[in-house]
Symmetry: C2
Subunit: 361 residues, 2 copies
């Protein structure tokens, strides 16, 4: 066995783990002997896959000693990659659109083109659905065996903010380890798409032919986030229908307000099975990066994303202090009920809760 | 002179006003003799236009004695209208789409159909742009003279949250005064549309033929909020182009994920000049209300909006305490600069600020 599969298994093998503890989660169990921050950084910069993998595990830990080391590692990684041009590509799609197969085929294309690829998954619901860790391993088997690919499943569930932070730190580590291309896949619906969009340079949406019903699973607004839509599974008897859907979406995209990047989103077709369309998508993505690196949007957008996440983290933290306050937690259900019954005005209810909160501070 | 124009002028005439003070704003000057909460409520319930107008002025005041009275009035108004079926219709459009003329013609149609209509405007930028108060008065002259119409310009600028609160309270007063139909117009871009969408039952978007460039002014995502799009100014030599745009949008709307209401958004054409299409739009709106009142979405959505505004107010308040803290205000620019330069991680920056904030509490 080669590649990331091996390293992760190595890491998990032979190390005592308490039963029923999620190795990626908020467990206080040490799951691998820790190195110093310097040792991690050295290993990451040298592109040592097992060290990269262990550094990510450290990031996913909530032990404060780990957080401390993780902070130093991330800082060093960011410093190394500052000014480097990397490609962060968000990928989402309706259920059944064939995201894993697409990423596998598309990822191999990126590697063939000379890139080193990291595939990350944001799935805040994974603790509930359970299988995503194993799922990711098995479903991208051939990509996982590529020397130049690094596949990392979703960290365990937690707040979307927590998952987002871990993912952004993981991106920094992967880039410092030489992975110049990062796919950030989202398998969730709704909020996780917005989070991934806010940490990607380019956002790719996979749809199926037969518009309408199939969109049930995705939130309104996602289509307008896409830089490129591909109608996937455009093969066999489905080819014609896919082409038809593609034309519809392509027409629709021209009706949207212009993007801030200056890029004109469009729609294409693809088949991860036959490989049709994949080269074109890759070319379009390269065109996109050439455009936004040229017009300054690439850097501006990344900086805006940094600022966004700073304020988003502050906001998340303020909210969790408020809603985590025992008094608020006790009063909220009753007050919320009164608002829902129309007995209390929403602003009045807000003021009541805020007064109670401020008194306790 | 009859109608709202008269009442507002009456209210403003002969009452001492300090110079340079915005009568709708956060002025501490009393601009009309105050009544008791009971007197206001009585006048509102009797549909007395001058009292309605003065109650709204009270709502827009930030004097704490006024806020106190306003709170009582709003509570009484909400109690009266609980369970009543009213129609709150948000209206927005690209610059130049002819919103005012549309609202004037369309409003007269609503009145002809037997409804009492209040037209409110949400324009958080009005303090900057200046003219919206006078603008609203003059641009809807014939509607303003209708006995069954009540036009109220935007409250003065302030935070979007503040404007939203005032607008929602104004809606309660208008409904209690017997205005069963409320148009909530937004003239801003971006955030104010989202706010209006979150206080409307139905959201109407006015576009112009010649898609693409004309959308420059609107934010991505607005199209997916619309329950109905009308390509306005479909008259004279523009008729054919408008029809063509309509078909394009109509096709595009079918490609969007389904709405939670069960309603299928579509696109039509209209001309406020010739009146073409207005009756159809009115019928579609009635169909919408019939659908959502039947399937329970109407009430469910209003309750969700109440809850949304409760949490939104809490969130706004937490943020303004944080960002209004002198220490944070002093530290933020430097830290934000470091984030933008890539010298500080966004999450690290957030933590630094939060630590400083929590120490001071």
């Amino acid at each position: 066995m080669k590649g990331p599969l091996k390293s992760t298994l190595e890491e998990m093998k032979g190390i005592p783990q308490p039963p029923m503890v999620n190795p990626y989660g908020n467990s206080s169990a040490k799951i691998a002997p820790r190195l110093t921050a310097e040792e991690y950084v050295e290993g990451i910069f040298a592109g040592e896959r097992p060290i990269v993998s262990r550094a990510i595990t450290l990031i996913e830990s909530s032990l404060s000693s780990d957080r401390n080391t993780a902070g130093k590692i991330v800082k060093a990684c960011r410093a190394k990659t500052a000014g480097m041009n990397t490609m962060r590509i968000g990928i989402t799609g309706v259920p059944g659109a064939g995201k894993s197969t697409f990423i596998e085929s598309f990822g191999k294309l990126a590697i063939k083109a000379g890139h080193k690829l990291a595939v990350l998954t944001v799935d805040p619901s994974s603790e509930i659905s359970g299988g995503s860790i194993l799922g990711d391993k098995t479903r991208m088997e051939t990509l996982a065996n590529e020397e130049k690919a690094f596949i990392r499943p979703s960290p365990s569930a937690g707040s979307l903010g927590g998952v987002a932070r871990k993912t952004r730190e993981t991106i920094a580590i992967c880039e410092a380890a030489g992975f110049d291309t990062v796919f950030i896949e989202t398998v969730g619906v709704g909020q996780s798409e917005t989070a991934v969009h806010s940490m990607s340079d380019f956002f790719l949406l996979l749809l199926l032919s037969g518009a309408g019903d199939e969109l049930q699973g995705i939130k309104r607004g996602i289509i307008e986030m896409a830089d490129l839509i591909t109608v996937n599974k455009a093969d066999g008897s489905n080819t014609e229908r896919a082409e038809c859907s593609k034309n519809l979406y392509d027409g629709a995209l021209h009706l949207f307000p212009p993007t801030r990047s200056g890029w004109k989103p469009s729609c294409v077709t693809s088949s991860a099975l036959t490989g049709a369309g994949l080269e074109d998508i890759w070319k379009m993505i390269l065109n996109y990066f050439s455009l936004v690196m040229g017009n300054g949007y690439y850097l501006r957008n990344r900086r805006e994303q940094d600022r966004y996440w700073m304020h988003e983290s502050i906001n998340e933290s303020l909210k969790s202090s408020f809603y985590g306050n025992p008094e608020i937690a006790a009063e909220l259900p009753e007050i919320e009920k009164e608002v829902l019954n129309g007995n209390k005005d929403s602003f009045e209810a807000a003021e009541e809760l805020l007064t109670a909160y401020n008194k306790k501070l």
